[in-house]
């Protein structure tokens, strides 16, 4: 799926960089040489001097690290192209420093067949600026009843299997999926929210929901499903990843599962690391997401869980929605927020606020998802794909949704002040984004 244009044949040298590689734990000055779409060499010896004929990029001391891998991206292709296509999503990704996106099967039709995996791959090959991988449906039509062809789908290239935005309510189906997927080493990525408890609910239960008169759901709806799933992992041995957790109680379940050496990992969306239910304020539908934003205590617990390694992966959970689905009364609006282009900048807020170090932050968006999904990217290493980003950690900018590349504009970070932006994005040795001074500042 990666493009191997002619530019990849020429060597490119990134000099005078601060190399950050969470895979090796390195954070040091140096340089990096790209040739044939791969990382050909790196280290301090390349800090000042480039090989002959190499194109030189002076990093001016800024951070050069692996491009981000975002394993939860919803697009509108196929079926809702007016919201987002693979092309527009990939452009947003490139500008945000995301070099690999994993697209979710919640499309029309649902990605639950080999031909559809193939369709996405071909569309991405022809149109996308970054690497695009498919996460396929684990039940037909995402209905939670019949298992999909997990073996064939995996062979076709599906990186993992999920039930999208919904939890499988039927415990027997969930058990069988975990049991069957184990034979293929397939990863099951599950959204954890009890569908009966969440029915009709539009936000987190609590004082804010009570004041707003909105039906809320207790965060236990998440933990209940997670606890059940961990129990099923225990009896099946299937590889399990909870897609986006949102509360402290769920992290306790994860810690206990990991302590028992179960093949359990989990992710968190950038929204749940940087926003809380109070942001909803007067019914702002751009802050309506799934799972719902929780209390500030839960947000802080998620950041601590990330720093402690309880949480493995950060995702944007990029979910484009248009005016038809968002400019509505809160209870009638759709869930979802776009996030590809603001993922890194929003994550850097946590770093600038002193809530978490740079290394664990970048780790959760590079090497951790790479290992989970079996991708060779996400690391600075000889022979690894040259998926790289150059980041000015300090550069201030203000998010203007009209200037975002995503086709839908439902950003909860609209008008937010950010610090840190991507200067250069490279995918397999090709430059796919370059910051131009004056661009969206």
């Amino acid at each position: 799926m990666r493009k191997n244009g002619s530019a990849a044949e020429q060597a490119t040298a990134f000099l005078n960089a601060r190399l950050i590689d969470p895979a090796s734990g390195k954070d040091e000055p140096g340089g990096l040489l790209v040739r044939n779409g791969e990382i050909a060499d790196l280290g301090n010896h390349l800090r000042r001097n480039a090989p002959e004929r190499a194109k030189v990029i002076d990093c001016k001391g800024h951070v050069l690290c692996p491009g981000l891998i975002d394993m939860q991206v919803f697009t509108g292709e196929p079926g809702q192209e007016h919201r987002e296509t693979l092309k527009t999503a990939s452009q947003a990704a490139a500008a945000g420093g995301v070099t690999t996106i994993v697209v979710m099967p919640d499309t029309e039709p649902v990605i639950d067949q080999v031909a559809l995996v193939d369709f996405i791959q071909r569309r991405a090959r022809d149109n996308a600026a970054v690497n695009v991988h498919v996460m396929a449906a684990m039940t037909r039509g995402l209905k939670g009843q019949e298992m999909t062809e997990i073996g064939l789908l995996k062979r076709a290239g599906a990186l993992a299997f999920t039930n999208g935005k919904t939890s499988v309510a039927n415990t027997r189906v969930m058990r069988n999926v975990l049991l069957y997927s184990k034979d293929f080493g397939a990863l099951i990525v599950h959204h954890t929210e009890d569908p009966h408890l969440t029915e009709g609910a539009v936000m987190n239960a609590g004082e804010v929901a009570t004041r707003l008169g909105l039906p809320g759901v207790n965060k236990a709806a998440e933990t209940i499903v997670l606890e059940r799933d961990v129990r099923l992992v225990e009896i099946t041995g299937g590889r399990y990843h909870a897609s986006t957790l949102s509360c402290a109680e769920s992290l306790a379940v994860i810690r206990s599962a990991k302590a028992r050496k179960l093949p359990v990992t989990c992710g968190v969306s950038i929204n749940h690391l940087t926003l809380n239910e109070n942001d909803i304020g007067p019914y702002r539908t751009f802050f309506r997401v799934c799972p719902p934003l929780r209390s500030e205590d839960d947000r802080a617990a998620m950041v601590r869980g990330l720093a402690a390694g309880d949480i493995d992966v950060i995702v944007s959970s990029h979910d484009p929605q248009d005016a038809d689905t968002k400019r509505r009364p809160f209870a009638e609006a759709a869930d979802g927020a776009i996030g590809l282009e603001t993922l890194l900048a929003a994550a850097l807020r946590l770093h600038h606020n002193g809530e978490i170090g740079l290394m664990p932050l970048i780790r959760a968006m590079t090497i951790n998802p790479a290992r989970l999904l079996g991708l060779p990217a996400g690391r600075l290493e000889k022979g690894a794909p040259a998926d790289l980003i150059l980041v000015d950690l300090g550069q201030p900018w203000v998010v203007d949704r009209d200037l975002l590349r995503a086709r839908s504009k439902n950003s909860p970070f609209d008008e937010s002040k950010m610090q840190g932006r991507v200067l250069h994005t490279m995918v397999a040795g090709n430059t796919v984004y370059q910051y131009a001074a004056g661009d969206r500042s």
Binding site: A205, G206, A209, T210, G213, P215, G216, Y283, R328, P329
Partner: protein, 316 residues
């Protein structure tokens, strides 16, 4: 002069919520409403405060008394009143709330009175139109004129609101009346209790300023005001309460439970009542029931709100 207080005290373009209304604003509106109540008892009830103005009643949810109350209030102040009942099925026709708002806005009304079954919908609409907007009930969020008329009814019967214990009983979870009253009565210095089975209580109601009771006998102990809420039919079958019979047994207002309240306690209900479900029929017609006064004060309070708003409307 009470009217001069109004000019300074209630100066808002919209009335969307009781949350954040100051005691001064509320008292000013109640004073104005007292006068309106007086004029409503005269032979000639009509005044010309809103002459030439257009008031549109935009109801996305069926209502008899609130809509007619606003209609009468508008007409008694001389406004041209139009009623629009937009069944929520028009949403399925494809027109969004905002489209509807923009269409109406183009007709240049001066005041829109809006009811919608979704919380926050009226506020959303208010952001999109140029005229004044009055919230006549949005989902389980707010119904400010109901809380104002309840406060007026209490003040006229008891002479004050501050220091009284008010027990709001019934389906708090789905009730905008409860939320508005909790806000407004707290601001006026009353002690507010809510009484309901746990399935009909929203989480952390105490944070809104209400003492929470799940035992009605305890909740009514020494109450000055017993305010009953309507239990909607769809809540009665199984998922929130097991049956009408059981609900009435534990949470219906009968003579026995009423005896727990103060001997001069007032009985209130925002209507429409389910006799025999949340309130015994004889209680509804009790000498201490002020349920019909509430209806009368409803017109007066709405006139007061309209009059206060009229002073802010642009004059050219």
């Amino acid at each position: 002069m009470t009217s001069s207080i109004v000019q300074t005290a209630f100066a808002r373009r919209h009335l969307l919520t009781c949350d954040g209304l100051s005691a001064g604003e509320i008292v000013a509106l109640l004073d104005l409403a007292d006068k309106a109540a007086e004029s409503n008892r005269q032979v000639i009830k009509k005044r010309d405060v809103l002459r030439g103005r257009t008031l549109i009643n935009l109801f996305f949810e069926a209502s008899t008394r609130t809509q007619s109350s606003f209609e009468l209030a508008g007409k008694r102040l001389g406004a041209d009143v139009m009623n629009m009942n937009v069944s929520n099925s028009s949403v399925s026709k494809g027109e969004t709330l905002i489209d509807t708002a923009m269409t109406l806005n183009a007709m240049r009304p001066d005041i829109l009175v809006v009811r919608h079954d979704k919380a926050g919908a009226v506020e959303l609409l208010a952001q999109k139109v140029d005229c004044s907007v009055i919230n006549a009930g949005d989902g389980a969020h707010q119904h400010p004129t109901q809380a104002l008329l309840d406060a007026l009814t209490i003040r006229r019967a008891k002479g004050r609101v501050a220091g009284l214990t008010v027990a709001i009983c019934g389906d708090i979870l789905h009730s905008r009346v409860a939320r508005s009253n909790i806000n407004l009565l707290n601001t006026l210095g009353a002690r507010v209790r809510v009484v309901a089975p746990s399935t009909l209580l929203p989480p952390q109601t105490e944070r809104l300023g209400a003492e929470v009771f799940t035992d009605m006998n305890a909740g009514l102990e020494d109450a000055d005001i017993v305010m009953m809420l309507r239990l909607q039919r769809e809540r009665m079958q199984g998922s929130y309460v097991p049956s009408t019979r059981e609900y009435f047994h534990f949470f219906g207002l009968d003579h026995e439970k009423l005896a727990r309240a103060k001997p001069d306690a007032l009985i209130m209900h925002p209507g429409p009542m389910n006799r025999g479900v949340e309130i015994a029929s004889t209680i509804a017609d009790h000498s201490r029931s002020v349920i019909r006064d509430q209806v009368e004060m409803g017109v007066a309070v709405r006139m007061a709100v309209l009059e206060a708003m009229a002073r802010l409307l642009p004059n050219h």
